[in-house]
């Protein structure tokens, strides 16, 4: 009966709508709208005491962007931020991979406990944990140095690398490693030819979960880094809170977003090609 089938179809569509509408509305109000406001703000003039100048007085212009392009310090800080984010991601990967493998290979009962330990730091306040690092690094003479920033960044983001790697590695069929060994693969060949390629999705999602937040992070460099360790996150924060130059802050964060999207798009394109090869 066409009538009833289109009825159930309509009911299905309605259910889909009811389920997806609230999160969609949430995203529009709290994500899309602020982003658009931010984009618009980057073309405005700063107000005298922060905020934005009235549209009639200031108008719309590209001053903020011109400012960023003209002064090479912004490109330098952006590049440095990418370097710190990249290095943090790499260190997290090198630390998390063996750890995740170890967790996967421990007895099933102990695994849950180990995973719990990985996420346990989240149970205490972020700032308190960073202050704890200041207490550790101070006597070592490392506080307010790039090393301290890197250590703090790695510490904060390590669980975000471990968890996706663990979920990926846990799904690997042990029979594949046995087959590889049976067919002549030694320890290294087994890792690089079987485990590593199969874990790439986990590596990529872990890397994204570390790289992107590190780029925007300002608390760690502010508390642990020296005056020379200004990163893009600090710069953006400063424009809003200290310099009260909202348009410049907005422009900087849009540039950052564009850069992140470019990196993400590039890595997605790279892995797609690899998957097909």
């Amino acid at each position: 009966m066409p009538g009833s089938s289109s009825n159930t179809e309509r009911a299905g569509r309605l259910t889909r709508w009811l389920v997806t509408a609230p999160p969609a509305a949430f995203l529009v109000v709290f994500f899309l709208l602020p982003a658009l406001i931010m984009a618009a703000a980057s073309f405005r003039e700063p107000g005298e005491f922060g905020g934005l100048a009235p549209l009639a007085a200031g108008g719309m212009n590209l001053d903020a962007y011109r400012f960023i392009v003209d002064d090479p310090i912004y490109a330098w800080i952006l590049a440095k931020s990418f370097a710190v984010a990249g290095l943090t991601t790499l260190i997290c990967l090198l630390l998390a991979y063996p750890l995740a493998m170890r967790i996967v290979r421990s007895p099933r009962r102990r695994r849950d406990l180990l995973v719990l330990l990985v996420i346990l730091p989240f149970a205490s306040n972020f700032l308190i944990r960073i202050y704890a690092w200041m207490i550790i690094l101070g006597p070592l003479g490392l506080l307010y140095s790039p090393v301290a920033v890197l250590a703090g960044m790695v510490y904060v983001h390590l669980p975000f690398m471990i968890l996706p790697l663990y979920t990926n590695l846990e799904k690997h069929d042990p029979a594949l490693l046995e087959a590889a060994q049976d067919l002549g693969a030694g320890r290294w060949a087994r890792f690089w030819r079987v485990t590593w390629p199969l874990s790439l999705p986990g590596v990529l999602s872990g890397s994204a979960l570390v790289f992107i937040p590190v780029l925007g992070m300002f608390a760690v460099p502010e508390l642990l880094g020296g005056t020379g360790d200004l990163l893009i996150g600090n710069l953006i924060k400063e424009q809003f809170l200290d310099n009260r130059d909202w348009p410049l802050g907005a422009a900087l964060s849009l540039v950052l977003t564009a850069a992140v999207l470019a990196v993400a798009g590039l890595s997605a394109a790279l892995t797609r090609n690899r998957g097909q090869a």
Binding site: D173, A175, L176, A180, Q181, D182, L183, G184
Partner: protein
């Protein structure tokens, strides 16, 4: 094609000498010895937990015996890890690499062996053709059917020409029709490449159909090692008789034993004539083992045609097309299974349930098994 052992003609390709393997208190393999000859299709057959897979893993190198030793081409295998043994395995789950294409999977052992690029391409192509998958080289394992995956696993195991190919219940995951076809392909493949196969299965029909020789295992020991025909027609004990095919066991005592045959007394039945068995003397107890196809069923009228004949009633029958299986209860209560071929002209006709029949068999049929 196969680079044969340089040693003397009497040496087997694989020698297993008195191996024992314990897991905690359990003795999975108990003092097993056997020789596997080059070019053979050898099967380890037994119920699950009989130790056959443990032996396979010790040959592959994933496990080591607690006592005893294995020799390949006369060289001890002890301490050599799996990756350095010229032995490859076809796993029950196939264990194909999901991130590699079919060609990539097959090239894997060649790459591990450090073969040159041209040789890898050539031999991968040859092996793909061998298993009739020429057009599937670029496909990924998840795009293949069960039978195709099976063939890729075989190709991957054979491509680097191992001295031994181990097959761990490789047909277990296939449906009945496909399994039958793959059995035929396996036999043809083994004949073509000449690689020695060691096959592990719990399916006795599969073992009978495929193997040159079969070791029937139970509880860590070899119960009997023989060619399929002998295993079937002359099982050495009740376990083998029972495990391979269907068997009727008639408890009996030996009244007289001569070179020409045995005279048995079966309680409630009377006298039975049976073929001679070495080392069985008058007075010993046991059972006469008879295959269903040895028994003939006739309407209970007229004179008996064969020496051993007993009256009974048809309990039930199963019409299987080519044959009909009858379950007949003899007058002493013993239930026998008999096979009747439906080779007569016209429509098959049956002895109906409840019909009085005579079950008879030749004096030289079956084998007497001592307790």
């Amino acid at each position: 094609m196969l680079n044969r052992a340089t040693a003397g003609p009497t040496m087997a390709l694989l020698e297993i000498r008195n191996i024992t393997r314990r897991f905690g208190k359990l003795e999975a393999v108990k003092d097993v010895s056997l020789d596997i000859e080059a070019g053979e299709f050898f099967t380890l057959l037994g119920p699950s937990g009989c130790g056959k897979t443990t032996i396979l893993r010790m040959i592959a190198g994933f496990d080591e015996p607690d006592a005893g030793a294995l020799f390949l081409d006369g060289q001890p295998l002890a301490g050599i890890p799996p990756e350095r043994r010229p032995v490859h395995t076809v796993f029950q789950s196939y264990a194909l690499f999901p991130h590699l294409t079919v060609a990539g999977n097959i090239a894997f052992p060649l790459e591990m062996a450090g073969r040159g690029r041209d040789e890898i391409r050539r031999r991968t192509g040859e092996t793909l053709a061998l298993v009739h998958l020429e057009d599937k080289g670029d496909a990924f394992p998840h795009e293949l059917s069960g039978g195709q995956k099976q063939r890729v696993a075989l190709a991957r195991g054979l491509v680097n020409k191992p001295r031994l190919l181990l097959l761990d219940e490789p047909l277990g995951a296939l449906d009945a029709k496909l399994r039958e076809r793959m059995q035929g392909e396996l036999i043809a493949l083994q004949r073509e490449v000449g690689v020695t196969f060691v096959f592990v299965t719990h399916a006795q029909q599969e073992a009978l159909a495929l193997s040159h020789r079969i070791a029937v295992m139970n509880e860590g020991r070899i119960e009997q090692l023989d060619v399929p025909e002998v295993l079937y027609s002359a099982p050495r004990n009740r376990f083998v008789a029972d495990f391979i095919g269907t068997i009727n066991l008639i408890a009996a005592d030996v009244v007289e034993a001569t070179r020409h045959g045995l005279r048995l007394a079966a309680p409630g039945l009377g006298e039975i004539a049976a073929p001679p068995v070495a080392a069985v003397a008058a007075g010993s107890h046991g059972a006469l083992a008879l295959r269903p196809e040895h028994l003939r069923i006739a309407a209970d009228t007229g004179r008996a045609g064969l020496k051993n004949h007993f009256a009974g009633t048809v309990g039930e029958y199963l019409f299987l097309g080519d044959v009909t299986v009858y379950k007949v209860r003899l007058d002493n209560g013993l239930l026998l299974e008999a096979l009747a071929t439906n080779a007569g002209p016209g429509r098959a006709s049956f002895h109906e349930i409840g019909a009085r029949v005579r079950v008879e068999w030749r004096h030289d049929a079956g084998v007497f098994l001592e307790h």
